[in-house]
């Protein structure tokens, strides 16, 4: 089968790749572009570990075909720290011990960032429902929710 040529933007960088029609964005990121920060956990859209944003919308990269990313703007965990500085969420996750094994962390951060871009003053319930698609088996979510609350507070103070 002939491969498809795709031109897209990943974390602000023009990127070209060849993919099979059945390849997902996750396949291409991890296998072909060696961007392994985005994690593969379920491959069925149930866990959120492969969360990325596409044109600002939070998606599971295992459910989006790579060929669909033509001319899109993709953001992954690798683009979250800017100019060698943590995003506020990365900082509060570390300060609040909001990760244990860390495998859900990239997806959790991408999802939380997407929430705070829309709402810098979410309630605990809003945070819990927004992150309901991001599984974590280690933390019981307590410290994750608190880290998101702390990041939101910091964002409001700095706004």
């Amino acid at each position: 089968m002939a491969k498809i040529q795709v031109k897209t933007k990943i974390n602000g960088e023009e990127t070209e790749f060849l993919c099979q029609p059945y390849d997902t964005v996750l396949d291409v990121l991890r296998r072909d572009l060696n961007m392994t920060g985005t994690k593969e956990v379920c491959s069925s859209g149930d866990c959120g570990a492969c969360s990325i944003t596409m044109d600002g919308r939070l998606v599971c990269s295992c459910l989006v075909l790579a060929a669909e990313t033509e001319d899109k703007n993709i953001e992954t965990i690798e683009g979250m720290a800017k100019n060698g500085k943590f995003n506020v969420l990365q900082k509060t996750f570390l300060e609040h011990a909001a990760l244990q094994c860390g495998i859900c962390t990239p997806g959790m951060l991408v999802a939380a960032k997407s929430l705070l871009e829309k709402n810098t003053n979410p309630t605990e319930t809003e945070i819990r429902y927004w992150l309901a698609g991001n599984l974590c088996r280690c933390t019981g979510y307590d410290k994750i929710v608190k880290a998101v609350q702390a990041a939101a507070e910091e964002m409001r103070e700095n706004a």
Partner: protein, 744 residues
């Protein structure tokens, strides 16, 4: 060490591996690549129980892009009737679980594997492998496996002299239960069931293996023990341990499920036969079908007590599923279930039952939640009949220092009573409840483990510190090790780097399990650091030309111990490091030992639920977990262990279960149908860290990781009863089951 003066112990420092994990830079096993790498896939059994008559791999081998094929014929042959023990595992079972030999024993059992240019080709080649089966009837549930005419999985396993699926038994006995029950004013006996549940680690099993023509082998894999990976791979492939270097990748959760191998020996065989590095990554479905869940169970518990609330006798019988090969955690069920109590007469039995399910693997306090579930639910009923507060009832019967436990030991100083008292004085205990809300209580115990550990502490040329240990860090243990090292050396924690060595760079260290890692690594790191301090004093003595005994180490500096020692300006770690070469050479020390003195851990939990009687949904609305943690070296990660364990227990109690269909196949092998708790299901999980220091440890550390999963099953069941007046004797208490029982 004076508690108040602690600068780093007890502080929530930033974990050394944190930056890598929040930026996506941390390398997990599936993130590794090598030049020339090819991909391995596994062919799995479509039947739950069959004899393998023949395997023909010819067509697969001939497919373009295929490099090698592996079957059990490529493995070392371990006769089925001769045990080959490696720790608690038996390699004759492990080898057959990795690649089936005489029989397939569960749907999804690996039969063969292919390495090819791409995963797609390897997958296609697997379909070309021809297997001729003689299909047998199967047994999934315990009752089916132990009935008189049950299909027998392993012909040579005998029970009462006859072939049987009961592969082992265990009992604990204290006093005389018959006499004890005669003394009782009330006796309650109930039967319970729990479903098999999976550890649910998010990272699927993965490895990358490269074998050179001289058999030198490098394994990158996600496991709870690189030395376990090396040993098991060596046994199964026949390559000596000295030729295998197992490198621990970051691990994406294990909870016990990564204490054994699935892929590493297979990838090693495929790499050896192809001459190429082979990468294998399980899918979620493969993890659910063929990696270890923990046992489903059936149990019966009987407890008798006097009217004054004193327990006179207790008896428990626990049947646990082992899956395809022997090894159910009956010790955890029968050994831990009565551990929190001072009971004069007790008798517990455990039965290890094989059936046509995937082989169980350890899961956080293996077996203990099953035992505690039955006992703590019956205790709740006894307390109710006695009209006693469940916590006061437990307090009256609580084990303390000097109590002889049913499972054997006499307890040293420990803090179970303190966890009960902490709950009794917590605001949660007296908080009002609304209609359809209820409160439940339960306690739990886990043994905790010691075992072999190694550490090396090296001073860098610029006077900073690198600590290497041999235990994969899953929950933040590197942060705690950094705290301890910084405290002992009197330097800033950011000057300490903590690494996990591979099997070639650090001495043998037993795996991450049994809540042992911080207990054991703190022991060897403390000894190594103290040796380093001794060397630093020796170097200062050479520079000042005074006795080493006249030098003390304080706040990261060598200084004269008193006025008589002389008047010298203190020498900092950096200054001594700078003078290392002329004063004797590199500064560092290591320590290796079989650690002992890991004392058990106790917890008491309070849980509030609200039951939606229209939908049958029981929802946890408040939770408080009190635990004797010995000494919290990094309190936030200790809290994290409690919170994570509680939430796994909530999943076990309310939703999670392995569901088999009529064909003997798992019907819910993914996170959509096997529902682990999600963020919106839960409240915050409050913790109370009770600190009764372990007297046998330099920092007072006790294992903390496993105890928190023990009480939730019964705390929730007791809370649901308190809410709606209905007792549940079977887990999970999922919406369909709750609805059915309410409408009865």
């Amino acid at each position: 060490m004076n508690e108040i003066d602690n600068k780093w112990i007890g502080k929530n420092t930033i974990r050394p591996d944190g930056a890598d994990k929040v930026t996506g830079r941390a390398e997990y096993a599936a993130d590794t690549i090598m030049p020339g790498m090819i991909w391995g896939r596994v062919l799995r059994s479509p039947h739950p129980h069959a004899t393998i008559k023949s395997i023909n791999t010819k067509k697969a081998e001939e497919l373009d892009g295929v490099f090698s094929v592996a079957t059990s014929a490529d493995c070392v042959d371990f006769p089925v009737d001769t045990p080959v023990l490696l720790g608690i595992q038996d390699i004759r079972w492990m080898a057959r679980n990795v690649l089936a030999k005489e029989k397939v024993l569960f749907h999804g059992h690996p039969i063969a594997a292919v390495a090819a240019r791409t995963e797609e080709i390897a997958e296609k080649a697997c379909e070309l492998i021809e297997v001729d089966y003689d299909i047998h009837p199967w047994a999934i549930e315990i009752d089916d496996a132990i009935k008189p005419d049950a299909p027998i999985l392993h012909d040579f396993i005998k029970f009462d002299g006859k072939p049987s699926n009961i592969a082992g038994t265990l009992e604990h006995k204290k006093g005389n239960v018959e006499e004890g029950f005669k003394e009782a004013d009330i006796i309650i006996e109930k039967e319970f069931e729990t479903a098999a549940v999976h550890q649910g680690y998010l990272e699927t099993h993965a490895c990358l293996v490269s074998v050179s023509p001289d058999d030198r082998t490098t394994i990158w894999s996600s496991s709870q023990g690189q030395f376990m990976v090396r040993a098991m791979t060596s046994f199964i492939t026949g390559i000596p341990q000295s030729s295998i270097r197992a490198i621990p990748a970051e691990i994406g959760g294990g909870f016990g499920g990564k204490t054994i191998v699935y892929l590493e020996p297979v990838a090693t065989i495929l790499s050896k036969k192809s001459g190429r590095p082979v990468k294998m990554v399980m899918t979620r479905e493969e993890v659910m079908r063929a990696s270890g869940p923990t046992s489903g169970s059936k149990s019966k518990v009987k407890i008798g007590a006097k009217n004054d609330g004193k327990i006179t006798a207790a008896q428990g019988t626990f049947y646990l599923q082992a899956g395809a090969f022997p090894g159910a955690p009956i010790r955890g069920a029968a050994g831990c279930c009565l551990a929190p109590y001072d009971i004069p007469n007790a008798h517990t039995f455990g039965y290890d039952v094989v059936s046509n399910r995937s082989k169980v693997a350890a899961y956080r306090a293996p077996g203990a939640p099953i035992g505690a579930y039955a006992v703590e639910c019956v205790l709740d009923e006894v307390a109710e009949q006695l009209k006693m507060c469940p916590l006061e009832f437990r307090l009256k019967n609580a084990a303390k220092e000097g109590t002889k436990a049913v499972h054997g030991p006499t307890y040293p100083l420990m803090g179970y009573v303190e966890t009960l008292e902490a709950c009794l004085s917590h605001p949660h205990y007296k908080a009002p409840l609304k209609k359809l809300q209820g409160r439940g209580y339960a306690s739990g115990f886990w043994f905790n483990a010691g075992g072999e550990s190694s550490a090396q502490v090296n001073i860098t040329e610029d006077g900073n510190v690198v600590v290497t240990t041999g235990h994969p860090d899953i929950g933040g243990s590197r942060a705690s090790i950094a705290n301890i090292t910084a405290e002992l050396l009197g330097i800033d924690v950011n000057r300490v780097s903590v690494l996990i060595g591979d099997t070639a760079t650090i001495g043998f260290s037993n795996l991450t399990g049994g809540s042992r890692v911080l207990f054991a690594s703190a022991l060897v790191v403390t000894e190594s650091t103290n040796q380093v301090i001794d060397i630093l004093k020796d170097r200062a003595s050479k520079i000042w030309k005074i006795d080493k005994e006249a030098i003390e180490w304080e706040n990261g500096q060598a200084r004269p111990a008193g006025d008589n020692a002389g008047n010298f300006k203190p020498l900092s770690l950096a200054e001594l490091a700078d003078q290392a070469t002329p004063t004797g050479g590199p500064i560092g020390a290591g320590h290796q030992v079989n650690t002992v003195g890991a004392e058990g851990g106790f917890a008491t939990h309070i849980c509030d639920v609200e039951v939606d009687i229209e939908l049958g949904i029981a929802r946890v609305i408040r939770y408080t977990a009190a635990q004797d943690v010995g000494k919290a070296i990094h309190p936030a990660y200790v809290e994290g262990q409690l919170q994570g364990g509680v939430v796994q227990g909530i999943g076990w109690a309310l939703n999670e279960e392995y569901i088999y269909n009529k064909e003997g196949k798992l019907d819910n092998p993914g996170f959509l149908d096997y529902r682990i708790p999600v963020c919106s299901d839960l409240p915050m999980i409050d913790t109370i860290l009770v600190e009764v220091p372990n007297p046998k440890h330099p920092q007072g550390v006790r294992g903390v990781g496993e105890v928190p999963i023990v009480p939730p099953l019964s705390a929730i069941a007791n809370a649901i009863y308190n809410a709606i007046g209905t007792r549940f004797y079977s887990l999970p208490m999922s919406p369909p089951k709750v609805l059915e029982k309410i409408s009865d």
